[in-house]
Subunit: 377 residues, 4 copies
């Protein structure tokens, strides 16, 4: 079991390398009846796609998904939905050089250490290409959560290098604001500076890191499990399963290290239309790992891509010193395309949490007790 399955009830299994015939995802557990077609998958796949703007990789991947099963007459049947996205425009000749050399910051060496050899035609299974399958699955989760629960998940770039965006309350940001610029930063002034910085970095044959904020609104109180499968834990795993993520924080995040209990804990209130809620959201939407009904807010730190065209020292498979410059067409900054990938993972976690809560929630305890008393007579 090479770790290619995610989720307990809304369960996603992926396969595929960057330079093989294609990527496949099987979504097992989508409730029957969900209206679904290829058109539902395309928008998020387009957002994830390289070549969509001048600040991301210029590779041209068509990313046309084919639904192979699980949908009949426009609705999910309840059986597994398999989606195939064939690879195109692979130009594997770009990568020939790396068969024997270890790219710094890449998984070449660790794959060799684990498996004894590797598909050296690219990132293989550790390539961001693999996230295509996740984004397709996430689009199904999005439709399900939107229609059935009114949950909305939105990601946005909050930082590129030294440029920090002012997001205001991130739960107030809109998809339109995010998609208004190629950086996917809803602060237009910051977005412009970020775009400038990315172009600058690309010109200097380098890359740059940053961070993104993810927000889920509409999640009712009560999703997530108390101990190992805390919603926070599953979201944390989901984020860290994405390439290049080096840090994850919820709500006040690392800021809690300097906080006092008297100032960190959010005050409960019950005025307003939302029933019981907290007046502030330093807790990030989960308490004890269970959703509180407040927006779920998390942040991810994303490293600068290790694929840069500079000559750098490294070693080959035999351990001999050598140098290597990564050719190929890579993103100078991963953040713009990270946003839809991260949204997909949040959506998968939430769809799973929703189904898990449906399984045990709402068993009518009163009725059980009455039945119990009845039975004892």
């Amino acid at each position: 079991m090479a770790g290619s399955t995610f989720g307990t009830l809304f369960r996603v299994t992926t396969a595929g390398e960057s330079h093989g015939p294609g990527n496949v995802v099987i979504v097992d557990g989508c409730p029957a009846g969900l209206p679904l077609s290829v058109d539902d998958l395309v928008p998020d796949l387009l957002r994830r796609r390289p070549g969509q703007s001048r600040i991301v990789s210029p590779r041209n991947e068509a990313d046309e998904p084919e639904i192979l099963s699980g949908v009949f007459e426009g609705r999910a049947t309840g059986t597994p939905i398999a989606i195939l996205i064939r690879n195109q425009d692979q130009r594997s000749r770009d990568y020939g050089d790396i068969a024997q050399k270890y790219r710094p910051g890449h998984a070449d060496y660790t794959f060799d250490a684990k498996y004894g050899f590797r598909d050296f035609r690219g990132g293989g299974r550790s390539s961001a290409r693999e996230t295509t399958a996740r984004v397709a699955a996430g689009a199904i989760a999005r439709k399900l959560l939107t229609l059935a629960c009114g949950v909305r998940v939105l990601g946005m770039v909050d930082r590129v290098g030294d440029v920090v965006a002012d997001l205001g309350d991130p739960a107030d940001r809109t998809l339109e604001e995010v998609e208004a610029n190629p950086v996917r930063c809803p602060d237009p002034a910051a977005a412009e500076r970020m775009e400038h910085r990315i172009k600058e970095v690309r010109k200097s044959q380098d890359s740059i890191g940053g961070s993104a904020t993810l927000v889920a609104t509409g999640v009712p109180a009560g999703w997530g499990e108390p101990v190992f499968d805390k919603l926070r834990a599953d979201l944390g795993k989901a984020m860290f399963s994405l390439p290049a993520v080096m840090g994850v924080e919820f709500g006040q995040g690392f800021g809690v290290a300097t906080a006092r209990g008297s100032e960190h804990s959010d005050t409960f209130s019950s005025d307003g239309p939302r029933g019981i809620h907290t007046l502030t959201n330093r807790h990030g939407g989960m308490l004890g790992g269970i959703s509180s009904g407040m927006p779920i807010v998390l942040r991810c730190a994303v490293k600068p891509t290790s694929s840069i065209p500079q000559d750098r020292p490294t070693v080959d498979r035999a351990g001999n010193p050598t140098t290597l410059a990564t050719r190929g067409r890579h993103d100078p900054c991963l953040l713009p395309r990270f946003v839809p990938m991260a949204e997909a993972m949040v959506l998968l976690v939430l769809a799973d949490a929703w189904l898990r809560q449906r399984a045990v929630g709402g068993v009518d305890a009163i009725r059980l007790e009455e039945a119990s008393e009845e039975a004892e007579k």
Copy 2:
């Protein structure tokens, strides 16, 4: 499935509340033959225990573990090891006030929202008491990893409020340095200031946050899976499954947001006794989610405990405004006792990763090919 099981092959299942009869853990998958007795569990349980110093909760929990199964004549039999740790000194009268009121920052409200009611005698399943079971299981993983692989896992407090420790290279720190003071910070000067700060905070009826660094050394290259079950993802989940963790970062962590690719990627080298390795460890010991052979380094941000004896506004179950001061005996700073809990979770993840790698690793590909050629003749 209330999320009480962790791990694929080294699989831990826990049960127990803070104020019930006791906590239980079943460790399923420990290889047969491991020398094991209650004595192996005690040291880590003592480190986790309240009442061990003047800067942690003064509760007196004996924490005497009983091994109920899976060990025969001093060795693990390969069958599940069940451990029972009975609760003592519960003083549930301390908690009576919270049956109807929601403590700020606690899971009272979210448990009610999820389950319809809750065991109001304390934190129930979201209490740090639950981690006793994890620490007992982690002690088994520790013994296994130490004896079989030479893996060592050590945690240390690196920050309490504004006091930041100088850890040097955290992989060089020792258990003796960590245990030399009640804060579990191996920088003695910082430890003293931290202890002072914690006492100060307690006097002002408040609590304070901080952060801890965890290091695993001796992990060979090749552990972890490429996609969803990246070692980084499983460690991230493990950390976020602990109470009060609001942020997790690996290696350079959130620092990558301002880094360039040319400066972040660690350079491979092969001189020295370790074979292929990197000259620096900004990547934190995993590349592509698979261990690189370098020390695994991660940091956790831990919030100030929400249990403080100040009167604070909140609401009751009906949504009516009220006030509440958490009585009882709580830690003014969670960090000292967080260290053994976090070590336990790192150990559980690594024991699991080791077994998973044993399952598929070392299948002799050359032999398979020869057998294949032989078969075709």
Copy 3:
């Protein structure tokens, strides 16, 4: 992962050997609110217990369960329920002889082959003692299914050696009929002959096999999954996971080998109060692995216990020929005590199937489509 966990959502994990301190079970996933106390566990544990009649093992096991967690003020809290049943009256001296010799028909040799050594004080993990934990968990499933769904599960002995019972329609049999005699056979005339045969066999220092029928009524149509997790497959696994089960069949069972399609398939009808149903039940209550609303009917073949006090040839651990007679107090026929064990496993499978169906069932497809159309405007 030594295979000690069963179920996806109603998830049971057991630990414990026949001669260790006790057996433990953790039930994770019981919906909150279920009225529950130790009294609910006792009846089935008493039915499983040795020493209850003159035709079963005379061992005296008190089997007093202690609920360690997950129940508060008489109701399940939704968190894991741990139950401890301590071992008593173990008389391990009875077993001393088998430390070096392999009992025919027992798992001594296979445990040694697997683990390198074994707890030789009895059957260890392969002892029927382990089923105590299952029966306790099954009692929780029984209460849940009874109160929430009206499902009833009943087992009965249908054969002991050459004595075959006339069950009529097994779905019409009652607990009272089953418990009316120590054999647990609801055909009183057959029961008497069975009891006679068992005593006869015991006198001749031998043991005898038989079979049991299990019936679940009240299961609505729609439980179970279409492919690998067919309800039939999960029930089959559950039965074969019990000690001594050598065959399992559903409905017409092995009788289908000589059947024609025109005569095997049950005819659908919709008259009567049950809506759509079949006129006969040769299919055994599941079609395509999914429950049909008809009674679920299965049969298990149970081998004669291998523990007989005759001297028999075998080998010791070194492979040297020797002889061995199993001392100790064993059941001359496993069937009477097999009934509650098998009921427990059927109950666990059904509780799991119910929760799994709750997770995905009843998503209102019409509402989703309206929401979908609304969203497109």
Copy 4:
């Protein structure tokens, strides 16, 4: 989670309906280095295929598998292997009639009850078409087990209606004997009578049941887990997950119901080249659920296909009485094509058991103890 995943470490996930674009399987956990190509999949797929002889369904399914991932330069990479087998020659017009009517013996009604509607163009997910994916995965398991362990799995028809084969010791039968006739019965005389009976039944527009024996040789002692994941239990689940299986038995099977302990238990011996083994194999190759080193022998009862062209009474979706004759091209006897399907499932279980045993087996207990003593000094 609609039950589309099978296995813990050698994990298979399938998707696909009989009349959709195709069937997909993802094999996650195949060890790196296994020589593998499409040619390895073809032989078993051809054996499973309709249209291969005059006694099976005349449908023409090309069943050309495409490997989409996980294989590089002729070897498995260790990452998931996805295989796509497109559907062809579907003639869905043959099935139009069943959109509104429930075929007796089929899963039409139970799918409707579960999901609210169904893909009525054929058996959908409950069609034997789905087993194509299993057979492709099983072929990978077969190559792995053959090359790495010398395990061989062979199925054979032992009964069709009243015609019973004389298999001798089934562990002595060969693939050549099995494939020597279209029935896949290694007893040539019985095979001829079976073929005759099948043709007869088809002429009378009916179908007929039967049974098959599966044998696995070369499995060393020690595979399988002691309690829920007994090898017997996993094999039982695997068999019952196949369409049309109504009974499964191991070794002496239902014959144990009339056996005495003194005659059922197989005697251990250690003469001969196999080390410790049993002189007979009534236990069917597993003791306590763990392999004994003897051949694993099981039998499956397979019902007559419910798809027969006779007019039969049934009801429509609204419950109104109607009649229905299943048109289309169906097998008058499922057994010949059942053999490769059942072999595939046995192979998947054994590959999983092998990996699970690799994970925990062979931890050098002596070395651990020495290390333990060393550590204590």
